[in-house]
Amino acid sequence: MKEVIVTMSDNSVRRTEYGLAEESIKRLERSAITGSRAIAGALTRMSTVSNRSQEDQSALSLDAWQQWSDWDNGHADS
């Protein structure tokens, strides 16, 4: 089942993205399967970032924006 992002109202898109992620994360965190916590951590981080283009990153909360782009300084290392 592939997540489908279609053009809907913002609210319905966000509900689709975040609702499923939250449910998954809770279950993964409780799981005894090795690797579940790593996946849960990644899902948690993704759930705080808009699924849409960076064009609207400026509309993010300050906290979400701070988290979003702190990897971007790795451009010219090689």
């Binding site: 089942m1 592939k2 997540e3 489908v4 992002i5 993205e17 499923l20 992620a21 449910e23 998954s24 279950r27 993964l28 965190e29 799981s31 399967i33 090795t34 690797g35 579940s36 916590r37 790593a38 996946i39 849960a40 951590g41 990644a42 899902l43 948690t44 981080r45 993704m46 970032v49 808009s50 699924n51 849409r52 283009s53 960076q54 064009e55 609207d56 990153q57 400026s58 509309a59 993010l60 300050l62 924006w65 701070q66 979003w68 782009s69 702190d70 990897w71 971007d72 300084n73 790795g74 451009h75 010219a76 290392d77 090689s78």
Partner: protein, 382 residues
């Protein structure tokens, strides 16, 4: 005219990568894409140019602004340079703007003063480090050919003493693909890194002839990334963030990837040299045709709205024919522009790696779903 409107939109903030000292560096890393240039002559962006840049940039955009300070080794610009940066940012700050500064350093020059400054002004610090001493010192040497490993570790420890946890950028060459397990273990369990990224070394224009045999190929990169994914899962630490894994995972889950090399927003950056020359990216300085303009003689808005940049935006956004039928098209966007073969519109050299790893991670996540009792509610690709 419509292009001018999109540029000035508050939502389309372009992120600058500022090479404050040009190629000037206290290290001479074998794989550096400035290796064949003069890295010894001191160069620092002038105060006049710095102020012109910050004044015009901060006038142009609203909202959240990110500045990426780069080199060469940016700390060679000296602490007063960066004190001036934050002073000018404060002076030109408009209502509604937020500022975040990030700096990429080799960490060898970090001392208490620098660490204090970064902490006081909330700089995000990225440190270039290739792994264990054996991996790191293979290429990351000083100009005399001496090791830099101990100095880097010292710099990281100083940052941590001041409450700064740096991100790490590891460069992957043919040499260290053979030490993938050792290097992962070093980062995760010895250095205690919580987030790092991997830059693949691939000299697409064959500029550094002495290093051609160190460019990695698809087979090596696939093997490396599969091993990293396995080790990341086995480590099972929810706080460890490996940039590449998160990018691939985002693609598999239908989420927007964080990195420009995956999310197709390469044109959202621009890079400025210490002398005012503006290019699309610091990885593309070897393409003279991609020179957007020079801030010494032109307004920034003219440069970013100029024909060279608009052509670049068009070229970089063009869909490669091979991407049309690809199921991972929107997760990959034909990879990093600097690693496209032949031209900006060319095919991404690591296309096959991307397909293989999206598939590998997809299978892994499916296995987790199957093992998980209620497991059909987190979305994994087919």
């Amino acid at each position: 005219m419509s292009k001018l409107i999109f540029l000035s939109s508050q939502f389309k903030v372009l992120v600058p990568i500022i090479k404050v000292v040009g190629d000037f560096c206290n290290l001479k890393c074998g794989y550096c894409f400035y290796y064949t240039r003069d890295q010894l002559t001191p160069r620092v962006m002038s105060g006049t140019l710095l102020e012109k840049f910050l004044r015009e940039y901060m006038e142009l955009y609203s909202g959240h602004l990110s500045f990426i300070w780069h080199g060469g080794e940016p700390l060679l610009a000296g602490l007063p340079f960066f004190e001036r940066v934050v002073e000018l940012q404060r002076r030109y700050l408009k209502e509604g703007q937020n500022i975040k500064n990030a700096i990429q350093t080799n960490a060898t020059l970090v001392d208490d003063e620098w660490a204090d400054f970064f902490k006081a002004h909330d700089f995000r610090v990225g440190v270039s480090m290739d792994g264990s001493k054996e991996s790191h010192d293979h290429f990351r040497l000083n100009h005399g050919g001496g090791s830099s490993f101990d100095q880097v570790v010292r710099g990281i420890n100083l940052l941590r003493q001041h409450g700064i946890e740096p991100g790490i950028i590891q460069t992957l060459t043919h040499d260290n693909t053979g030490r993938v397990r050792e290097d992962f273990n070093f980062f995760a369990n010895i250095l205690g890194a919580k987030r790092w990224g991997v830059n693949d070394f691939f000299d697409v224009k064959a500029i550094n002839q002495a290093m051609l045999d160190q460019s990695i190929n698809n087979e090596e990169l696939v093997s490396f990334l599969e091993a990293y994914i396995d080790m990341w899962l086995a480590q099972d630490d929810g706080e460890i963030r490996i940039r590449e894994i998160e990018n691939f995972m985002a693609g598999v889950l239908g989420k927007r990837a964080p990195s420009c090399t995956f999310n197709g927003e390469c044109n959202r950056y621009f890079s400025m040299e210490y002398d005012g020359r503006v290019y699309p990216c610091d990885r593309l300085f070897s393409y003279p045709e991609l020179l957007f303009g020079n801030l010494m003689s032109q307004p920034l808005s003219d440069i970013l709205n100029g024909p060279a940049r608009l052509k670049f935006v068009e070229d970089v956004s063009a869909l490669h024919p091979n991407c049309v039928p690809c199921e991972w098209q929107v997760a990959c966007h034909n990879g990093c522009t600097a690693n496209r073969v032949g031209e900006i519109r060319g095919k991404y050299y690591f296309c096959e790696t991307r397909k293989a790893i999206f598939g590998y991670l997809n299978d892994k996540l499916k296995q987790y779903r199957q093992q998980d009792e209620g497991g059909d509610s987190y979305n994994v690709g087919q």
